[in-house]
Symmetry: C2
């Protein structure tokens, strides 16, 4: 028996925290909210995650692991540079419903935590860096390091901006329109 009852409970709490931190924001979510969502009692939650910030760390680490897995899939993609970037953009668009309803999870978390002391912001920022590093490496197969960096940064900027506005207006069409423009830009750049 590799998965104990404790592991299962710990996992439920973590998933509840991830969901609520994303959908309500970190400050606006109480550990009581998390306990209710997970179906455990507050005291029990504290056994697994003694403090709210540790719960945040674990939630962010879980998201980082997901992103790393996604990046691994991207690395296995085949085709031209444009075709690969096109598919990467598609994996962003696939999350449109959530983005419209709650914003980009990494972007909104970075925004919220960035208002604090700055230390809490480090972890979500690393997720951005993971993605940007991968994008830069890919662009570098075609361009100089400097140009590759610029392209990667600009691609990230456009997707984040599209997420902010789509969430502000709660408009999935906006996200589609902007992704179309990003594709046009990608095509110009890659060809």
């Amino acid at each position: 028996m590799t998965v104990t009852k404790g592991d299962e409970c710990r996992c439920r709490i973590l998933e509840a925290a991830r969901k609520l931190f994303y959908q309500k924001g970190f400050s606006a979510t109480s550990i009581n909210d998390v306990a209710e969502e997970a179906g455990v009692l507050k005291g029990n939650l504290s056994y697994y995650y003694p403090s709210k910030s540790e719960l945040l760390e674990s939630a962010t680490a879980a998201r980082e692991a997901e992103v790393q897995a996604m990046i691994a899939e991207w690395s296995a993609l085949e085709g031209s540079l444009f075709e690969i970037m096109d598919q990467v953009l598609s994996s962003f668009e696939a999350d449109a419903d959530n983005i419209v309803a709650y914003g980009c999870d990494i972007g909104t978390l970075t925004n919220e935590l960035g208002k604090g002391d700055g230390e809490l912001q480090r972890q979500p920022r690393q997720i951005f860096e993971l993605i940007q590093t991968w994008l830069t490496e890919r662009f570098a197969t075609r361009f100089s390091k400097a140009v590759a960096r610029e392209h990667a940064e600009h691609l990230l900027v456009m997707t984040q901006g599209a997420a902010v506005l789509a969430h502000a207006y709660r408009d999935p069409k906006l996200l589609q329109r902007q992704c179309k423009l990003i594709r046009t830009w990608l095509r110009e750049v890659c060809e």
Copy 2:
């Protein structure tokens, strides 16, 4: 005597709230924080702003008024379409220090409030709409309504994205680089 002591106090509270809601976020700011920052007592604050959400409404309305004043200045700008947009972008860049430290005020507020019931988000979203409407009208002096709308939206998207990333990395250079790219885009589009 047009400015009573009460007005002055009300104003101090409002400015304190605006500062803290921006720098710490709405949820993370207590009305006690606001009272301390304004140098008034909590009970006195409640006399002027009975609830936290009313304080938020007033703070957002004050920001909206500022934006409207800024737009009025933009409307007085002279020169080619590119030159005007170039100056508009400059007024965004002028706030670089704050954007790097705390993000775009409208963007981060919209993000945070958008996680809630959606009703609170309406007010800051209107500020985006104000700006976008003005941009669209300007672009419409040269392009069809549909194209003008697209350009306005894309310009807003790129500035918001640049703000998110610059704040995430706390990097003023990133903002500069992206504004340069936006200018290149503006030049291509306008000429």
